[in-house]
């Protein structure tokens, strides 16, 4: 089975419009003005699904659907938001039962709009079960995936409410096989199509790259570090910067050349940067502020992570991937990725975004590794990729230092 960029785009747009229809339905019913920030189609490891939910408390609705597509869909609000929705609908005296039923009602109307859009486009029927009210913490709120594969396709829309810094999410979790078949059916550019299993293999290879990078960090710092998540997502180029928040990040950016070429970002949030940099320094720092010494340590760390990561890819692709010396950045996340997306945007309308995260038990530290490859070159690289080689990323650490 193959998917092409055109069908990925079509399906992404469909999910985005579905989410818009859903939020319009909610605005009409509640007067709550919401805005669909971003929708992306992701290929993600099952275990990593929903990591953006962190350990927050959510309520929402879930139901199964079947027909042209089969799977589960959920709409989740943060617990505090659900109280506000219930209050808007029912007034301040609403009790828990009433609140639950209003969430269920809002959710049902939103999600019917969402699925109807899909059915219309596919000119097929999608039937769905009555919604169930759900509540839970973090990823536990997401349904179990009945997938035969390790990787699942997910459509995720992030919805922002009235300019507030709060979000809720719609996840659509179709079963892999029927979705892949449907995407293959809607494929228009056969010559540019990517076999789905290669996309999955590429994800696997990226995870190995991230593991290698984590091993390098561990070797350098003595801090036990794990690569947590790896996912490949696809979105219009102008939606790429929206995948990052306005929070301040510090890290490194390189341009890599080879097959494919592109940009690789290693970004830490400020507290993580300080923690990690201090763990690497021979002397204890007095201040909790970010100094030039911290930045020097981050630059070195960024370099080591970048090398580990690109070596992982190069080994699998059996060709060299070079990169520029790292440039240190310290700015708003969106502003960092914006010029990179613009540089690619001169030649392509969509982009694949490959994310991994690294973290440790020992220290409060999180690092995001993001690759933004040239789309055409990535497709070529994938077409030449031997899926059996994806686990051969054991770069020799001696080569890196």
């Amino acid at each position: 089975m193959k998917v092409d960029v055109q069908s990925l785009d079509t399906f992404n747009q469909l999910a985005h419009e579905g989410a818009q229809a859903a939020t319009d339905a909610m605005a009409q019913m509640t007067g709550i003005d919401t805005h669909v920030e971003v929708t992306r189609i992701m290929l993600v490891e099952r275990a990593a699904l929903g990591e953006e939910l962190a350990d927050h408390s959510f309520v929402g609705i879930q139901f199964g659907f079947e027909g042209a597509l089969t799977g589960e869909t959920v709409l989740v609000f943060e617990q505090d938001q659900s109280a506000a929705i219930a209050e808007t609908l029912l007034g301040p005296d609403a009790n828990t039962r009433m609140a639950q039923s209003s969430i269920k009602e809002v959710g049902n109307i939103m999600m019917s709009g969402f699925l109807d859009g899909w059915a219309d486009f596919l000119t097929a029927t999608i039937e769905h079960d009555p919604p169930t009210y759900i509540e839970g913490k973090g990823t536990a709120i997401l349904p179990e995936m009945k997938a035969a594969t390790d990787q699942v396709f997910v459509f995720r829309s992030t919805i922002e409410w009235g300019g507030e810094d709060v979000s809720f999410y719609i996840y659509m979790l179709p079963e892999y096989e029927p979705l892949a078949a449907l995407m293959a059916e809607h494929s228009l550019e056969a010559e540019n199509a990517i076999p789905v299993e290669k996309l999955a293999a590429f994800n696997e290879m990226t995870r190995e790259g991230a593991r290698q990078a984590a091993a390098n960090v561990e070797l350098m710092s003595g801090i036990e570090t794990t690569a947590e998540v790896s996912q490949i997502s696809f979105a219009p180029i102008e939606a790429i910067p929206k995948q990052f928040s306005d929070d301040i990040y510090i890290g490194t950016v390189v341009e890599f050349t080879g097959a494919p070429s592109g940009f690789l970002l290693v970004l830490f949030d400020e507290p993580s940067a300080i923690t990690v940099a201090e763990a690497l320094m021979p002397v204890t720092m007095e201040s909790g502020e970010l100094t030039s010494q911290h930045k020097a340590a981050i630059e070195e760390l960024g370099n080591i992570i970048t090398s580990g990561f690109t070596d992982g890819w190069a080994n699998v692709l059996q060709q060299s991937i070079d990169h520029t010396p790292p440039r240190v950045v310290h700015d708003m996340g969106q502003a960092i990725i914006d010029p990179l997306a613009a540089q690619l945007g001169q030649f392509q309308r969509h982009a694949f975004l490959i994310d991994s995260k690294m973290m440790t038990e020992e220290l409060a530290f999180q690092c995001e590794i993001t690759a933004l490859p040239n789309e055409q070159e990535l497709r070529t690289a994938l077409s030449q990729l031997d899926p059996d080689r994806t686990t051969e990323t054991q770069a020799d650490v001696e080569d890196i230092f």
Partner: protein, 170 residues
Amino acid sequence: MKVYDGQSTEPEAPNRLKVGIAEYEVTADEAELTTSGLGSCVGVALYDTESGISGLVHVMLPVADEMRDGKPAKFADTGVELLIAEMESIGAAVETLEAKIAGGSDMLDFSKADKSIGERNAEQVRNTLSSYDIPVVAADIGGDYGRSLLFEPTTGDLVVKSANRETQRL
């Protein structure tokens, strides 16, 4: 119990409209217009000194011709044209429009070209505005840092925030 009557509740003033990348918003009722995370992108705020009608567009690339994809607000030339047309459609007059622009930084430009994308974006914005004889009354362009913008129609001020710098009011 509040009865649902199908009417949406009136938002509290001042309303705030968020403009994403390759998007625009116009307002005739003094809603604040915001956009965030401008790197090489440029934010163009237009203000009609007579009617008070305001608009903001967040453009990403200089020229639509380079990439035909039916998203006019993504490009400096078509984005500015679209914003002007949308403001005129709700009563603004092009003769009384003024522009304030910010963004177009050179950060992370890996291209070997003479001019960075940020510079080219800002240049195209100025060219298109000038073809309509719209004056740029204030600008905060270039540098190697990101910006977030808030336009206040009540004062006509464009507030520019950056990660490591003082907030500016243009």
